[in-house]
């Protein structure tokens, strides 16, 4: 018995010792782990502080650069103003008659002053563009119109050089439309035309051709001049990269024109290049400059890749000018719009067209907005169409009327703020039931894991999908359109800007609520380029992942709230 007890005790002691040793080992290991984590944490902290200070430093540098450019611009122009003015007055002969030699000298001085002014303008222009400080004013443009205007502008120069400008008509059906900054695109066209004219022999012609290439359009300016040597075909787009060193002087250019063109085209996500005509398989001398930029593909073609076809927004208001203001705004943002001045007509149109949402005035003669809402809700065909009230009444005044609250999904007060109207419409178009579908586009897997973890505990309210590239994001948007997009700007296969551009071309996605979660501060210009539906900007350096969570949850609740919310101004 004793032996047995001793044996039990010994084995117990052995067991306990083993456990103790194991515990000790575990303890030591966990302490090491703690220390390592601690070290990693401090390293990460140092790294983040380092990044923050680098960010601050960059901002400061940008400010200094801005000021410098502004000052240089002013300081150079001030003496030039006196010189140019004095020379201009002298060479005009207004200050007294000059002999031919003196007149010629003054002409030389005047011409070169003009060239210097153009050079300064071009350098500043290029610098502003490349530093992202020259915002694009994007509008829907018809290519044909821009070509006509540019040719018009350059006609005087062409006539002086005895060169004919010919626009080769677009093939039937090639009505090319794109989203771009019309002034900037025209600047590119004028520059290409002016180059072509300058390098063309008298009596020759310069042709402008346009065509479609998939989702892009291509514009060509074809001259029959001396042709760009094959080894210069790329370098002519560099700053001061002329074919012959004296070209800029002789031809009155600055040597920066094509560099500016390339910069503008790049801002429009396009490409510009030159080819020798003889390399294109023709016998002709000369050069062809080509420009390729994304175009707006007709709605029918888009529908093939998107889930549902594009419906219209119905605008109901008896005030024609108010209606036009709303309609214009919606057209500018690519919506198909139906409009009417009366409630009766609105009922008919809503029942017989694919209407995605109704923007409705309350005070109308005949059937009022209130009555129209009631009738819309009584008809099964129109009951589910979201209604946004567009009224001089404030939402607070409107919410006293309970049936109105229950039957409308949004509210915009007149006179309306354009971005608020677009945001409210976007919210209404993406409202739905069930958990909010969120698409997280983030290439940093660690950060994505943290964000995802934050949402996991809330799985009743949101379902979140994570992708890490533009391509994957496009696929996810097509197969399962999200309610909210969280977007990092730097991605392996392109930028967040490219994804936003693509989304803007998708009828069902262009009003998607968006959270831009970027590694750097976004400039106001970039904010404009990134705006979809209701859009929020968060800088990683300034917010914690749980801030993203809070914001997205607030957006989901906003989307899922069936009653009228006073718009947060």
């Amino acid at each position: 018995m004793l032996n047995y007890l001793i044996a039990v005790l010994v084995s117990l002691v052995v067991f306990l010792t083993g456990t103790l040793v194991a515990l000790g080992v575990a303890f030591v290991r966990s302490r090491r782990l703690c220390e390592r984590l601690n070290a990693e944490l401090s390293a990460a902290l140092r790294e983040s502080q380092h990044r923050q200070s680098a960010l601050d430093e960059r901002k400061e540098l940008d400010t200094i650069k801005d000021e410098f450019i502004s000052t240089v611009s002013h300081e150079l122009r001030t003496p030039l103003t006196s010189i140019r003015g004095a020379l201009g007055l002298l060479s005009s002969g207004l200050m007294g008659k000059l002999d031919d030699k003196a007149a010629n000298l003054l002409r030389i001085a005047s011409t070169n002053t003009d060239r210097l002014v153009r050079l300064i303008n071009d350098i500043l222009d290029l610098e502003r563009m490349e530093s992202g400080r020259a915002p694009l004013h994007i509008r829907r443009c018809a290519l044909h119109e821009l070509v006509l205007q540019s040719v018009d502008t350059m006609t005087a120069l062409a006539e002086a050089a005895h060169v004919r400008l010919i626009i080769v008509p677009e093939p039937a059906g090639d009505h090319i439309v794109f989203d771009g900054d019309p002034d900037r695109v025209q600047q590119v066209l004028c520059n290409l035309l002016s180059n072509a004219i300058k390098f063309s022999p008298a009596g020759s012609s310069v042709r402008v051709l346009t065509g479609i290439d998939g989702h892009n359009f291509v514009l060509r300016v074809e001259d029959t001049g001396r042709g760009v040597p094959q080894d210069k075909i790329e370098s002519i787009f560099d700053r001061f990269g002329q074919v012959e060193p004296g070209d800029a002087r002789q031809k009155g250019g600055t040597g920066l024109g094509l560099a500016i063109c390339r910069s503008i085209v790049a801002q429009h996500h396009g490409a510009i290049w030159a080819e020798r005509n003889d390399a294109l398989g023709t016998e002709r001398a000369g050069t062809t400059f080509s420009l390729r930029m994304p175009r707006i593909v007709a709605a029918a073609a888009v529908a093939a890749v998107t889930i549902q076809s594009e419906g219209a927004i119905l605008v109901v208001d008896d005030d024609a000018s108010a209606r036009r203001a709303v309609t214009d705004l919606l057209h500018r943002h690519g919506y198909t719009v139906l409009e009417t001045a009366s409630g009766e007509q609105a009922l008919h149109m809503a029942a017989n067209n694919h209407v995605e949402a109704i923007l409705l005035d309350l005070y109308m003669p005949g059937m009022s907005g209130w009555q129209t809402i009631e009738k819309l809700k009584q008809n099964a065909a129109t009951a589910s169409i979201p209604i946004v009230v567009l009224s001089v009444l404030s939402p607070a005044a409107g919410t006293e009327d309970r049936p109105l609250v229950a039957n409308t999904q949004g509210w915009i007060q007149k006179p309306f703020n354009e971005s608020l109207l677009l945001a409210e419409l976007g919210r209404v178009l993406h409202a739905g039931t069930g958990p909010g579908r969120i698409l997280l586009v983030e290439d940093d897997f660690d950060l994505a894991t943290v964000v995802l973890a934050g949402f996991e505990v809330l799985d009743a309210q949101v379902s979140i999908t994570h992708v890490s590239s533009v391509g994957e994001a496009q696929l996810a948007c097509r197969t399962e359109p999200p309610d909210i997009l969280i977007l990092d700007l730097t991605l392996p296969d392109g930028s967040g800007f490219a994804l936003v551009d693509w989304l803007r071309g998708q009828p069902t996605l262009r009003t998607l609520p968006l959270v831009v979660y970027s590694g750097r501060d976004v400039t106001p210009t970039e904010m404009e380029q990134l705006r979809l539906g209701p859009t929020q900007f968060l800088a990683k350096a300034r917010v914690q992942p749980h801030d993203v969570e809070d914001l997205v949850l607030a957006m989901v609740r906003h989307l899922r709230t069936p009653t009228v919310q006073p718009p947060s101004a």
Partner: protein, 123 residues
């Protein structure tokens, strides 16, 4: 005959602009070299229009313009700003001030008067 007040701190630019308006358009020109002098000159001369530089020491063009707007004698005189800066932000800022026009340096001395006439609706 039109009477113009030019306010610019650069002697040379003042002289060239004055010569240009006098010899090309035949207008009468008086000048001032800073905002404060400009306001005094405007009060004594009551010109038909004022051509004023934007960047001036002590009191810049926009500030001078705002001061002028406070004076009942000067508030109705149209002011054209002349700027050497071309940054878009500046243009928008000036446009919001309520000046008659913003012209850019360097100006063409032969067409300066014409540009001003167009901006002021003078024919």
């Amino acid at each position: 005959m039109r009477r113009i007040l030019i306010i610019d701190d650069e002697d040379d630019i003042r002289e060239v602009a004055a010569l240009s308006l006098e010899s090309v358009a035949g207008w009468t020109v008086c000048t001032a070299c800073c905002g404060a002098d400009g306001i005094k000159a405007a009060l004594s001369e009551l010109p038909d229009a004022i051509l004023m530089d934007v960047m001036m020491p002590t009191m810049d063009g926009p500030t001078t313009f705002k001061e002028m707007q406070k004076s009942p004698e000067l508030a109705h005189i149209p002011v054209i700003l002349l700027t050497a800066k071309v940054q878009g932000v500046d243009q928008r800022r000036f446009a919001g001030l309520g000046v008659a026009a913003v012209l850019f340096k360097p100006f063409d001395p032969l067409t300066l008067a014409e540009q001003m006439s167009v901006a002021l609706g003078w024919n």
